[in-house]
Amino acid sequence: MSIVAVEVAERTGFRLRRAGNDRLLITAAIVLPCLALLIFFVFPLAMMLWRSLVADDGSIGFANYIALARTPGIIKATLNSLTLGLATTAICLVLGFVLAYTMTRTRVPGARIISGVLALPMLAPSLVLGLGLIFLLGRNGLISGMLGKRIDIYGFPGLLIADVLYALPQAVLILKAALAHADARYYDAAEVMGAGRWRQFFDITLPHVKFGLLSAGFVVFTVTITDFGNAAVIGGDYAVLATEIYNQVTGQMKFGIGAVVGLLLLAPTGLAVYIERVAAQRQFGGGSEGALPPQLSFVPARDVPLAIVTGLATFSVLAVIGVVIYASFMRLWPYRLTFTLKHYDITLSGGYAPLWTSLLVSVVAAGLGTFLLFALVYGIRRLPSWPAKIVYLVATMPVGVPGLVLGLSYIFAFNIAGSPLSVLYGSLLLLALCNFYHYHTQGFLTMVTGMRAVPPALEEAATCLGSGAGQVLANVIIPVMTPTLVSVFFFLFMRSMVTLSAVIFLVTPSLGIAAVSVMRLDEAGFVSQAAAFSTCIMAVVCAAALVMQLALKWLAVRGGRR
């Protein structure tokens, strides 16, 4: 402490503690999360790239790439994945646009209910949709029974419907955001100039959301070609890349070929993420500040068909998820529809143990993740500009890596005999870390936005009053960021509860998780038990969502922010 400060303290009688540990705190905040990001994100991907170049005989080269091309069925799986991805994307864009348009630009009632129903697929493992479709349209399906003829839902048609229902909510979210950025003045001007409704739609509405459409398209495509759950449950004989990569690695132990497929899957999603990012900047950078929302009016010729399509799509989502819950309580689907709880007595793969494991994994992923993300965002602010930019770039990269690929890469990084990191393999902690880094980007961006809301003047005021870095953190930054921390925690928790594609490679016979259990139960033919297990997962996730809403509301009331 300097002479001046001592004098001040003596004169006033108010003693100030030494700054001391400020540097240590800030250094730790930078080093810890960056190191974790390197070990659990950069390193596994690098290892996968490396393994793709190492042939079975130990030589370095492109042998695996050639072997892949010669692997029977791989070309077919690739073509199937592409077909499925494109078909799903096309349907989701049209349907998603109709729904988003109906909710934002017409006076069709029930927008809140539609939003609520569309949130359901995101609160459940993706394969729940496949499961629901089997209950409705499968060999013993409700609708199949009513129609009195067998529908063959397994394979392409089932997979297509399941993927559409799974990806649709995400497309709607993006398109709603794009459509919400409208300015009534454009429409007023067009109206005055004599343009009809269709002209206005093609000349104003569509051009304004073209980046939103592009972005939604890529998200849907990515989600579809990398989804594992539905392909496993309802895919039947229709081989796709996601299941093929799983078979190559866990079935036939062809790690080199698995690495190559992983890299191939990285290409389209990486491109998608890049284009989406560019699109997002263009789309929302162009909106003017004082935009007037368009006046909504009721146009029967437009709104009635839109309402019918929207209603049908919403009902389909509700029906497919609802039937899973309903069927889980029915004695013998679909012949004896009497209430029973017997399917909740899970007989396979350790009963409910995987659910508790998932719960624990999710709590660890959420807790550790929230802590690391907070430290990272706090640390970045204290870095000079160019290192901060690099860290920012790496921290936003995981969104371009499908869960399937990340999970696969963890095998290459942590399942190596003799490596000190291999102690993690098969541990709950590694599952948690994998889930966290799978959703790192979304959590990171939320955290960055939250950190921007901390007023610099507040930090400076605290500093001038004598606070060290730790006190500024405890008294200024954390209180302001509490709602953000809560959101990030629950986001990571909920995603971690339902995700399957990343952890499918990391589960071991002794370490199962909930979503995998559903898949195993379904594979073993215990479809009703799979439904019961899914219902339990959804109950946990819905409860978490509810707790989050309540917590945020409570914080808002306490903090006086509406």
Partner: protein
């Protein structure tokens, strides 16, 4: 207490924010750093607070160099334009924060907080949260928080700029009274010349990273040293020497020696008088009614003059008038 700034220099990339600024603040005076945005006044305040470091030059408090002392150890109080109260703490907790950091015992904190709440006339709001207060109340709490730890120096960064005109005027008076009562030297940044004149013992008028003039409010207004100060502190008629020689030779008496282009006569509107006169050479251009006074523009000998007139003078646009100037009110500024 003596705060001495010795050739402080600060650049942001290529932009010179402070150009070797030297200044001395002594005793318990209230000093305003006044200037347009971008003149370097806030940069200077932040360097004094320790929130920025200067590129070169020294900052001395009672002869000791402050450069190596971090902001948190300087023991200065600071109030920002945005209220910057801790949103999660009550009014009392906000005020007591600095003392809590210093591990003062609870009883003493409570007593001091009560005393300060009395001083800012908000004793009934001790348990409110910041969002439940008006802007003016929040700023008073911020002020109390800044003085709670008995700082050697108070720094105010445009503390009134975010407030309504009426609240601003009230708080202006309160800040002045509080500062006199506590006797703590204060440096305030503002771009509002009226605010600076009401509050300051001395005004430091800044422009483009340099100090244009330092002095009492009256000095700056009545005897501006530069064209910038004359322009910035209220409105004035700046008249070139050759025009004055022709139209108002009486003003030349106070003119310093120098070439014609070196100096301009600075004649405030209230030092010019109009006389309705049919044979007058000047013509009224327009009259702007401002309530207690009016501003009248007249055209005379190829220039337009700004004249302050009473509301009932009854000169209408187009009327012929005679113009006279109060030579004692005329100052000369460097062009």
């Amino acid at each position: 207490m003596t705060l001495e700034l010795d050739r402080l220099h600060k650049t942001f990339d290529d932009f010179i924010a402070l150009d070797r600024v030297s200044l001395k603040v002594e005793g318990s005076e209230f000093v305003c750093l006044l200037g347009p945005s971008g003149c370097g006044k806030t940069t200077l305040l932040r360097i004094i607070a320790g929130l920025l470091t200067q590129d070169s030059g020294r900052l001395l408090l009672d002869g000791q160099d402050l450069s190596a002392v971090p902001a948190r150890e300087r023991g200065f109080g600071i109030v920002f334009q945005s209220y910057s109260l801790f949103p999660n703490m009550t009014v009392a907790e906000n005020i007591g924060y600095g003392m809590r950091i210093r591990k003062v015992e609870h009883g003493r904190i409570a007593a001091r907080v009560a005393e300060l709440l009395e001083l800012i006339k908000l004793p009934h709001l001790a348990d409110r949260l910041p969002y439940q207060l008006s802007g003016g109340q929040q700023q008073r709490v911020a002020l109390a928080r800044a003085v709670a730890v008995d700082p050697r120096l108070i720094l105010l960064d445009e503390p009134l700029s975010a407030l309504d005109a009426k609240v601003r005027a009230d708080l202006r008076v309160e800040i002045r009274e509080l500062q006199r009562r506590l006797g703590i030297p204060t440096i305030m940044v503002t771009h509002d010349q009226e605010e600076a004149m009401v509050l300051s013992d001395r005004i430091v008028c800044m422009n483009a990273g340099r100090i244009e003039q330092v002095g009492k409010p009256q000095e700056l207004y009545l005897r501006p040293a530069t064209k910038f100060v004359a322009d910035f502190m209220g409105s004035s008629n700046l008249l070139p020497t050759d025009w004055v020689r022709d139209a108002m030779p009486a003003l030349l008496a106070s003119r310093p020696d120098g070439a014609d282009a070196d100096y301009l006569a600075c004649l405030r509107p209230e030092h010019v008088r109009l006389q309705p006169l049919a044979s007058g050479e000047a013509k009224v251009v327009d009259v702007t009614f401002l309530g207690n006074i009016s501003r009248t523009r007249v055209a005379w000998k190829g220039r337009e003059l700004m004249v302050q007139t009473g509301p009932i003078d009854g000169v209408a646009p187009g009327a012929a008038v005679a113009v006279s100037a109060d030579a004692a009110g005329c100052g000369w500024v460097r062009a």
